[in-house]
């Protein structure tokens, strides 16, 4: 569909009384298939599992912190050339995406870009990271270009002035803002799957990355400011493998996450991650439709035209969801103060923040597994015809998506399994942190009452969202 047709479609939809059809559920337009709601009995059963695990966990988990001090064991060394080689592959893919976005067909399902960004990158890399560790770091095109440029400049000029020290107060905030803006692109912006818009935004994001690297240095910026690098990196801590440029090591499960040191903005980033995924689930429920209708009417009343009114409605929803998730988490942290008066709520929230990482990943997997299971197959024809212009580079251009390979029931079991595992992992991390702070006595157990309630709420909310798809 070209821009003119899109505009025409918008006008046509606007003319209709039915505005629901015109809501910008952008990334889902890509797929054309939605998961069925989890049946009520399954919802009840999995919520029971969550409750039982929580209370058994509280009573029966280990009594000395084991995750914080666990060491990784080196498994195998990697050749020095691998890191730059993977970087080159990342840069090549990155360049291809920008080119395809501008030069290719603007039909979202025929162009390589939307599926690469929303399916392979946004959902695929977290899945890979969970299994293999931080696979994005060597592939990260911004890091590769930054390192290469640094290397050239050093060769050419010899002595390079030191970059400015990364400000402590800035912490993960640039990453939190980046992920929030990406969520806006996916869930709020009406043309979020438009290939040329995506390509332009990739360029804009790159400019910000290169500026950040130029000012603060490649390594500090990638560790704090590159939204995607930080986002994937947090998920990668859950893997039992630790990838570094020269070696692969294995570690005690969850120890990588327990050793994450939360800094300024980490909580914000995690709450944006959970908030945006829950909002995405929320938009397909009846409750949201009713709210959205009401909100949109108010925005139309104050004189906005349809498209901004719809976008502002979704933005409001996204902000409210993120705020609600943040408030809930801070409430859990506040609860710890019943036993620990020496620390402020924010300090405690920061101490326990790693517990949110598995929950955030569980949200992502539960919500997007179905989409990934089908839409990732589109890569078969997209790589053969990346521009959607009828080429057939690898002979797979006529491949289609098999919507029958996995049953709805299997998807339900995957969804509840990842949510329950994510919940258990979050619980274990919080438990370990409580033991570290308060020893093995009553105080550690008591400190977890509120946090446990908050985590049960998070997981049951995710289950509720999945069972209320309408």
């Amino acid at each position: 569909m070209n821009r003119a047709a899109l505009t025409a479609a918008w006008t046509a939809s606007a003319a209709c009384a039915s505005l629901v059809a015109a809501t910008p559920a952008a990334a889902h337009g890509l797929v054309g298939k939605q998961d069925l709601p989890i049946p009520r009995w399954m919802f009840a059963w999995s919520a029971t599992i969550v409750l039982v695990i929580s209370f058994v966990g509280l009573a029966a988990l280990w009594t000395k912190p084991i995750l914080v001090a666990a060491h990784a064991k080196r498994v195998i060394g990697l050749p020095a050339l691998l890191d730059p080689l993977l970087g080159a592959i990342g840069v090549a893919w990155f360049a291809l995406l920008i080119y395809a976005g501008f030069a290719g067909s603007q039909v979202e399902t025929a162009n390589l870009v939307p599926t690469s960004v929303y399916v392979m990158f946004w959902v695929g890399i977290p899945m890979l990271s969970l299994v293999f560790g931080d696979v994005f770091r060597p592939l990260n095109p911004w890091r590769a270009i930054g390192r290469f440029t640094g290397w050239i400049v050093q060769k050419a000029m010899g002595d390079v002035p030191d970059p400015i020290a990364y400000p402590t107060g800035l912490g993960h905030w640039p990453a939190a803002i980046g992920i929030f803006l990406f969520a806006c692109l996916e869930l709020v912006y009406s043309d979020g799957t438009d290939p040329s818009h995506l390509a332009a935004l990739i360029v804009a994001y790159s400019v910000v990355q290169f500026l950040g690297m130029a000012i603060f240095g490649v390594r500090p910026w990638c560790a704090h400011g590159d939204a995607f690098g930080v986002y994937f990196g947090l998920f990668a801590t859950l893997s039992f493998l630790r990838l570094s440029p020269r070696a692969i090591a294995r570690r005690v499960p969850l120890s990588g996450t327990a050793q994450v040191v939360p800094i300024a903005g980490t909580i914000g980033l995690l709450c944006v991650m959970i908030g945006s995924t829950s909002f995405d689930g929320f938009t397909s429920t009846e409750v949201w439709r009713t709210m959205a209708d009401w909100l949109r009417e108010r925005y139309l009343d104050i004189g906005l035209s349809l498209r901004p009114a719809v976008e502002l409605t979704f933005l409001t929803g996204l902000v409210l969801c993120t705020a609600a998730i943040s408030a809930l988490y801070l409430l859990g942290a506040r609860g710890i103060r019943t036993v620990d008066r020496t620390r402020t709520t924010m300090e405690l929230a920061r101490k326990f923040a790693p517990s949110l990482i598995p929950i955030a990943l569980a949200y992502v997997l539960a919500h997007y597994f179905g989409m990934f299971a089908y839409q990732s197959q589109a890569m078969a024809f997209l790589v053969s015809d990346p521009l959607g212009r009828g080429s057939d580079l690898f002979g797979t251009a006529s491949a289609t998506i098999d919507y029958g390979w996995i049953s709805a029931t299997a998807i339900w079991y995957v969804q509840i399994t990842v949510l329950v595992l994510g919940h258990a992992a979050g619980l274990a991390l919080a438990h370990d942190r409580a033991l570290e702070l308060y020893g093995s006595g009553r105080k550690a157990t008591q400190s977890q009452y509120w946090m446990l309630g908050v985590m049960i709420t998070f997981t049951c909310l995710a289950l509720w969202l999945l069972s209320n798809v309408d």
Binding site: G32, K33, Q34, L36, V52, E286, T400, A408
Partner: protein
Amino acid sequence: MSRTQRTALVAAALVVLVAGFFVLRPSDNDPTPTADTTAQTVDAAAPPASTQATDTVEQATTRTTTLKPEAQPKAPLLTTAKVTEIEVEKGDTVRFRAVSSAGDEVHVHGYDISKDAPAGKTISMSFKADLEGIFEIEFEHSGTEIGRLKVTP
């Protein structure tokens, strides 16, 4: 808490969960509530009454086992006025009609079934629901969603 107590607690929890699964899970022979194969018109935006003729809420499908073509009620009519929801069980036959004022092509996503809808002409479509999930039905050229096909296991 001793090691034995802890093991007992975990074992008890497991028993509760496994038992819960079998108690809660509906047996395969149970008629589930979704076996009611009528089309519902779900329309959150509430279009003006004039466009929502009551006769558009009709029986969408008949179980294949009881299929009698002459006894079939009219299939729901899909238009750009709203998104009509069609709910069937896997294996049933999906039937609906569609009309486009400007002329377009009806496309059922996932099933990837398309049919031309010349301007003003009512076309009917029918196919077997063999894929589970919720699928968009749209006018391909204008990109307007006209229906949602919900196929439950």
